[in-house]
């Protein structure tokens, strides 16, 4: 039997030890009216058959030259990352409840927390959340808990990824929190700090600051942070982790630094995989530590002074605090943090910086190439990291379809004539030339 080791003899011996005569007897407590037959599923395949099926299906998927970002980013993943991460000892372990038998996972998580804290410039980190968007929702809830204000208004700039905004709204919808939209400078593609005065005195509990923002544009995080702190609001930075090798970390924004930083860890060694699994990271200033959601690992000792690691501050969590927990999260994205930790160790500070710089460089190159094409214009004037928005003088839909025929997935359509384009270190000069040449050809054709 697939994956079941029992022989016929085992079965009989065990039934007799239990003192029943058949497997049916094990289910005697289920009311007869509820008993069912085995479900009718797709026919069972052996491993050979399922391997062939999946091989064929995988063969159909992907394979394009892709320039989409919008929250998930293609980066080179060193082979060592997943060869180690999928080792059975990491892969098939549970949440490290028995610390002494889980030092592998626990130490990795401790190192992970240290790296995330270091990257974001903050003092503490949890051990992961589901994804960047749900981490942002947890950050909002956390900020509300941290605040002593009576209101529960949170400022959310329109430059935040709309998927993140929707997720926040859906996850915190029942908590009586009001999300106040903060508008942005339509020329620059980022928030004009001067425009924030309109939100002053609004009693915001917190504001979110995306960096880089959804349009790839770099926000003036210092001014935004100082403004928010001046309003007595906490600052939640939603950041791209790759960019942090290059850009000022949230912990250093403005005079006091962001209070909480979060984001999607996918760029740190996690495959695109049609959308998941990724992981959310969340770090904060030490003063907010007791409000942090999710698991946290701490260093401790045994009786003989040997160092070891344990899950700690569990009193915040659902299995102890139940309805009063800081979050309902239990299973998080543990294995993804193993991969990210190995990724960051392999890249190191200079390697990660090179990834950020190469991405920036490539996006500058592509930006220049594309905007040199008649009918293609840059939409925003702000500085960008590895994404930017172009406006086309014809329907984006049609252009995308044409490029698709050339094997190119050109970007994320923002509306009928705008396209969000992303380039990372994975693209060569030839790739970018291929893209711009194809686009040029298409744009030079008359409208159809």
């Amino acid at each position: 039997m697939p994956f079941i080791p029992h022989t016929e003899k085992d079965l009989q011996d065990m039934l007799s030890d239990i003192g029943i005569s058949s497997l049916d007897g094990l289910f005697a407590e289920i009311p007869e009216s509820l008993c069912c037959e085995a479900p009718q599923l797709l026919p069972a395949l052996n491993e050979m058959e399922v391997s062939r099926l999946m091989g064929e299906r995988a063969g159909k998927d992907g394979g394009m030259l892709g320039f989409i970002g919008g929250g998930a980013y293609e980066h080179h993943i060193p082979a060592a990352v997943w060869e180690i991460t999928t080792r059975g000892e990491f892969y098939s372990a549970y949440t490290p409840y028995q610390a002494e038998a889980s030092q592998g996972t626990l130490q990795v998580l401790y190192e992970y927390q240290s790296m995330i804290a270091g990257l974001t410039g903050l003092e503490v980190s949890n051990a992961s959340l589901y994804d960047g968007a749900s981490a942002a929702a947890e950050a909002v809830l956390m900020a509300v808990r941290c605040s002593r204000k009576k209101t529960a208004k949170v400022g959310v700039p329109a430059t935040v990824n709309p998927r993140t905004i929707k997720t926040i709204a859906n996850l915190i919808g029942q908590q009586g929190i009001e999300l106040v939209e903060i508008s942005y400078d339509l020329k620059k593609g980022c928030i004009d700090p001067a425009s924030l005065s309109q939100y002053s005195g609004n009693d915001l509990v917190a504001i979110i600051i995306p960096q880089p923002n959804f349009f790839g544009t770099i926000e003036d995080v210092d001014a935004l942070t100082d403004w928010a702190h001046g309003e007595g609001a906490l600052v939640i930075g939603v950041v791209n982790p790759t960019s942090l090798a290059l850009l000022k970390p949230p912990g250093e924004w403005g005079h006091a630094g962001a209070d909480i930083a979060c984001g999607d860890g996918q760029p740190l060694g996690i495959p695109l995989s049609s959308g998941g699994p990724y992981f959310g990271f969340l770090s904060c200033q030490k003063k907010w530590l007791r409000q942090i959601p999710g698991r946290v690992v701490g260093k401790t000792q045994d009786r003989d002074g040997n160092v070891g690691y344990v899950l700690t501050m569990q009193a915040r969590e659902q299995h102890i605090r139940r309805s009063k927990a800081t979050s309902n999260i239990c299973t998080n994205q543990g294995l993804m943090t193993v991969a990210a930790t190995i990724y960051l160790a392999l890249l190191g500070p200079s390697g990660l910086l090179d990834v950020a710089k190469a991405s920036l460089q490539n996006s500058q190159i592509l930006k220049e190439k594309l905007t040199a094409i008649p009918g293609v214009d840059l939409l925003y004037s702000g500085h960008t990291f590895h994404e930017f928005v172009v406006k086309l003088n014809r329907p984006v839909d049609t252009v995308l379809k044409e490029l698709y025929k050339d094997g190119i997935v050109a970007g994320l359509p923002l509306d009928s004539d705008c396209l969000l384009i992303c380039v990372t270190e994975t693209k060569t000069l030839e790739d970018m030339e291929r893209f711009s040449n194809c686009l040029e050809t298409i744009m030079s054709r008359s409208f159809s």
């Binding site: 289920i30 509820l34 399922v50 401790y110 250093e252």
Partner: protein, 494 residues
């Protein structure tokens, strides 16, 4: 050895694995004000150091691949390696979530079929795969219940009933969904206290969250009556599917009358736990809750006889509670569940429950015969069961925690301890269907040996673990109190 240091301590300033770094030709032209002033404090180590460090660390874990892992409620069964290999095929890994559906027909066919098969196993009318774990599945389910009442203008239903034995995520989720949580007690046979339930339901009742078999390891025999009580009061029924492994192919939550259910694929469908995730928590809905399922979901159109798969979004499902994460859920995990389900088929799913129950009841019988005390001596075990070590604690001063730690020395992971909280000094033991009789017999022998130690040399047990079988031996019992009192959460250069 390397595993004894943290990776940062392996570093040296200027050490670089530059075959991993891309070539940078032009330097960054961003204004200084945007930039980081110091490099991030990441370790500077060689690739060999990284490989050696994390390989050695991995060896310091117990895992299903290396040890029997009878962790109750967690279903630590064998995670077939082929599921991993298939989910890691380059075609699947390389696709961006926002690419056009055309480039994802392979993965989407699999997800669509998974939706259908999970609906069939659970007896629900529809399934959405997007929740990222059990707790998010619960959130989706409870949100659907809330949305349903709201759509019906039933806004006074502000209370969610939760058995006292429930997993912590149940009350935590109900609270996150804006409900007041009301606990319903359990009777001495492990069943929900029906009298209390009757007293608790009313016009304020939004619903009841039930795990069946419950976390006590027994089947809730009066489930039909419970469901009728709640339904009659206008509430809906939520099924926590963490224990579905106990009943697949034997009975279906949908047939019992549940309105919403989540499924931990990282339990019943054998996707790996990964040391704490990622899992996936697909959510199922009865006919009346189906319109509220979270998006996205996959649908299948037929174009010229050929199936064409497409994502359904909020526009397609206006009543949906919406998306719960940025993209489509933990696709890679779901692919693993799909492969697993394809290898088992319907008959295989029934065998899962049959042999999970067989192993649990066998272990229960053997341990009882060896003198241990079952929490519910008159009940059949489901796929798991509870022992109480209260006699041992009272007589020899050796607690469930001590037994757990000593089991590690014997090369077994420990059962779940002190959950559910109702049973004093409890061990919640779940062997799963993939363990052999021999392994169970060895576990019984270890339990018996430890009790003997508890009698003869209690210090040995109370100070366990002593000789954890990992390279370097592992630390002795770790001080959790100290860790929580003075949290040391990140490494810093001293």
């Amino acid at each position: 050895m390397s595993g004894d240091r943290v990776i940062f301590e392996e570093g040296q300033i200027g050490r670089r694995s530059n075959h991993q770094a891309p070539k940078v030709m032009v330097d960054c032209d961003l204004p200084q004000a945007f930039l980081r002033s110091r490099p991030p404090p990441l370790p500077e180590v060689s690739e060999l150091q990284v490989v050696r460090h994390y390989t050695l660390l991995s060896q310091k874990n117990f895992s299903v691949d290396t040890q029997f892992y009878p962790l109750g409620s967690c279903t630590m069964k064998y995670n077939p390696r082929v599921c991993n290999t298939m989910a890691m095929l380059p075609g699947f890994l390389g696709r961006h979530p926002l690419e056009p559906d055309q480039t994802g027909q392979g993965v989407m066919a699999s997800l669509f079929e998974l939706q259908e098969m999970l609906a069939s196993v659970s007896g629900m009318a529809g399934v959405s795969l997007s929740p990222m774990a059990g707790a998010q599945g619960e959130f989706a389910g409870v949100s659907m219940i809330r949305a349903y009442h709201q759509k019906n203008g039933d806004t006074e239903r502000i209370e969610m009933l939760v058995p006292d034995a429930a997993h912590g995520t149940n009350p935590a989720t109900a609270a996150l969904c804006g409900f007041r949580v009301r606990e319903i007690p359990t009777d001495e046979n492990g069943d929900l206290d029906i009298v209390s339930l009757k007293g608790a339901v009313g016009p304020q009742t939004a619903g009841l969250m039930l795990t069946n078999p419950s976390t006590l390891g027994v089947f809730e025999r009066r489930v039909e009556e419970i469901i009728a009580i709640v339904h009659d009061a206008g509430g809906l029924l939520y099924y926590d599917g963490a224990n579905l492994n106990a009943i697949t192919g034997r009975t279906r939550p949908g047939d019992m009358g549940f309105d919403a259910i989540h499924i931990n694929v990282h339990k019943t469908f054998s996707t790996p736990h990964g040391g704490g995730g990622p899992g996936a928590g697909p959510v199922g809905a009865s006919q009346r809750l189906k319109p509220f399922l979270p998006v996205p979901m996959v649908t299948c159109d037929r174009v010229g006889g050929e199936p064409v798969y497409r994502w359904l979004n909020q526009d397609d499902c206006p009543d949906s509670i919406g998306q719960l994460s940025a993209f489509m859920g933990n696709i890679g995990v779901l692919l693993r569940a799909y492969v697993y389900l394809r290898m088992l088929g319907g008959a295989g799913m029934r065998r899962v429950a049959d042999y999970a129950a067989l192993n649990a009841n066998y272990l229960l019988a053997k341990l009882t015969a060896a003198g241990f005390t079952p929490a519910f001596p008159n009940r059949l075990a489901s796929h798991e069961f509870i022992l109480t070590l209260k006699p041992e604690a009272d007589n020899f001063g050796v607690t469930a925690l001590d037994f757990a730690k000593r089991l590690l020395d014997y090369g077994f992971y420990a059962p779940t301890i002190y959950f559910p909280m109702l049973v004093p000094e409890c061990l919640l033991i779940e062997p799963t269907e993939t363990e052999s009789k021999e392994e169970l017999d060895r576990f019984v022998a270890a339990m018996v040996a430890i009790r003997q130690e508890a009698i003869e040399d209690p210090k040995l047990v109370k100070e366990a673990p002593h000789n954890i079988p990992v390279p370097g031996g592992g630390p002795g019992r770790l001080d959790e109190t100290q860790a929580a009192r003075k949290p040391n959460l990140i490494w810093q250069k001293d």
